[in-house]
């Protein structure tokens, strides 16, 4: 990625907040940053989901683990992202985005475990008893009854995690691995190039909005009964 050193002279008077010329001239840089941002978000959220679901089920099955897992997630949540990055980067290195990815997965993990666990514990006891009475074993009940009923909670967690991950990726720009954050910080450092800052910020918000709507749509498709009940 290459960054302009200052606003070009023929870009209208002064230093505009937004300029189509900037977008046109740097379309490739913008696309790269957007792709990196979306890719990093997707990897982080998917990894977090893969780890979070078994953890939530474990905490659900083994009741004494529920309290500690929730308390630990609360404590981890107070850790500043920059500090987490500072503790990870020297161990993992800054040439790749691994340290940012680990930090993002940890934060997303906390939201997902919490929401999945809330969803699972809200399955009514009668439903659980009925499933057992119908001859479902532990796994069958989990896959056929409990997880589908917990799906709205899991989807809410997934949306929250995705939206906040999109915003958090920008912190990675401290080590040059921040996707659109690199544009925002780059614009600030390159003589306060407003168009670059605003374009990066707007793309960031747009990405969060698009992913949120996408997940909301997927959630509606996966839980058709929820929409029918509301109607």
């Amino acid at each position: 990625m290459s960054f302009p050193l200052a606003a070009p002279a023929d870009d209208g008077p002064g230093n505009p907040w937004f300029s189509w010329q900037y977008v046109r001239d740097n379309a490739e840089t913008l696309r790269d940053a957007l792709e990196f941002h979306a890719g990093l978000t997707a990897r982080a959220v998917i990894l977090a989901l893969v780890v979070a679901l078994p953890l939530a089920v474990l905490a659900y099955w083994i009741k004494p683990l529920t309290g500690p897992i929730l308390a630990l997630s609360g404590v981890l949540y107070t850790i500043p992202s920059l500090a987490l990055l500072a503790l990870l980067a020297p161990a993992v290195g800054t040439t790749t985005d691994t340290s940012v990815l680990i930090a993002l997965v940890l934060y997303a993990l906390l939201v997902l475990v919490r929401n999945a666990l809330t969803g699972l514990t809200q399955v009514p006891d009668e439903v659980r008893d009925a499933a057992t009475g119908m001859g479902y074993g532990r796994f069958g009940r989990l896959l056929r009854v409990e997880l589908p009923l917990a799906l709205p909670g899991i989807m809410t967690g997934l949306r929250l995690a995705t939206v906040s991950t999109v915003a958090l990726v920008t912190v990675g720009s401290l080590i040059g691995q921040g996707g659109l954050g690199d544009l925002i910080l780059g614009g600030f450092r390159n003589n306060f190039y407003k168009a670059e800052i605003v374009t990066g910020s707007v793309l960031c918000l747009a990405l969060a909005l698009v992913l949120d709507l996408l997940l909301a749509g997927i959630g509606r498709l996966l839980t058709p009964w929820a929409a029918r009940r509301a109607a």
């Binding site: 949540y77 290195g93 915003a167």
Partner: protein, 237 residues
């Protein structure tokens, strides 16, 4: 784990605390920025939340505001605000952080006033209290635990997020971390990790302290019922 022992060695060097730009100076900057940001957040979030809760409407607006700030990168506000008429220096940093302190303060104040038993308000009205008197003498005292919970969430979040002020040379403890990155990991690794450890400890200390405050201002019968709602948790910066 050699970096960790190096980091502890760095923390044990008194010069790293007292030098210009050392831990003590950065800590006082950090706490000042956080204090003003939380104060500003309270001045904006509480009156609006209390008013909306008292009127009993605007719940959708509260949720929308909370969700919007979740998607807004802190870095964007930190870089955009200094270029507005607010100007450079600490004020834009304080305003940027206050924006992220408002949602927890607002939504907790709103929930606090909404969750009061309507019968209590009816009884107060029946005793001849005016709308303002009901608010001051009945609703606000009953909402104090919620206000305290919001304050705790907001303050912890602000203290954590103030670390990001370093992106715009705004001061605070994040400067120690980014100065370490500036030196390169092989040279500044100890400083990076030391800064990280210190910021984590500060965040946990503030969280613990405010949890205690929240417990003290919550009347005993209300303590068990009140839990931090998962929606209040947002990643710090």
């Amino acid at each position: 784990m050699t970096t960790l022992s190096e980091a502890i060695k760095w923390l044990n060097d008194p010069l790293n605390w007292t030098n210009p730009g050392g831990i003590l100076e950065r800590l006082s900057e950090h706490l000042q920025i956080s204090f003003w940001a939380v104060l500003l957040g309270c001045l904006v979030g509480w009156p609006i939340g209390i008013w909306l809760g008292h009127r009993g409407r605007g719940g959708a607006a509260v949720i929308t505001i909370a969700n919007l700030t979740l998607a807004l990168p802190t870095l964007a506000l930190l870089t955009i605000l200094p270029l507005t008429p607010i100007g450079f220096g600490q004020p834009p940093v304080v305003v940027a952080l206050a924006v992220f302190a408002v949602p927890p303060l607002l939504s907790n104040a709103y929930t606090g006033l909404r969750s009061i038993d309507p019968e209590i308000k009816d009884a107060a009205k029946g005793m001849g209290l005016s709308g303002g008197q009901v608010l001051r003498r009945v609703e606000l005292p009953l909402a104090v635990p919620y206000l305290a919970a919001g304050l705790r969430t907001a303050a912890v979040q602000v203290v954590a997020t103030t670390t990001l002020a370093t992106f715009v040379n705004g001061g605070g403890l994040g400067e120690i971390i980014s100065a370490g990155f500036g030196l390169g990991i092989s040279v500044g690794g100890n400083q990076i990790v030391a800064g990280g450890i210190f910021v984590v400890l500060l965040a946990l200390a503030v969280e613990g302290l405010l949890a205690l405050v929240q417990r003290l201002v919550t009347p005993r019968p209300l303590r068990a019922a009140r839990r931090r709602r998962p929606t209040a948790a947002a990643p710090a910066g």
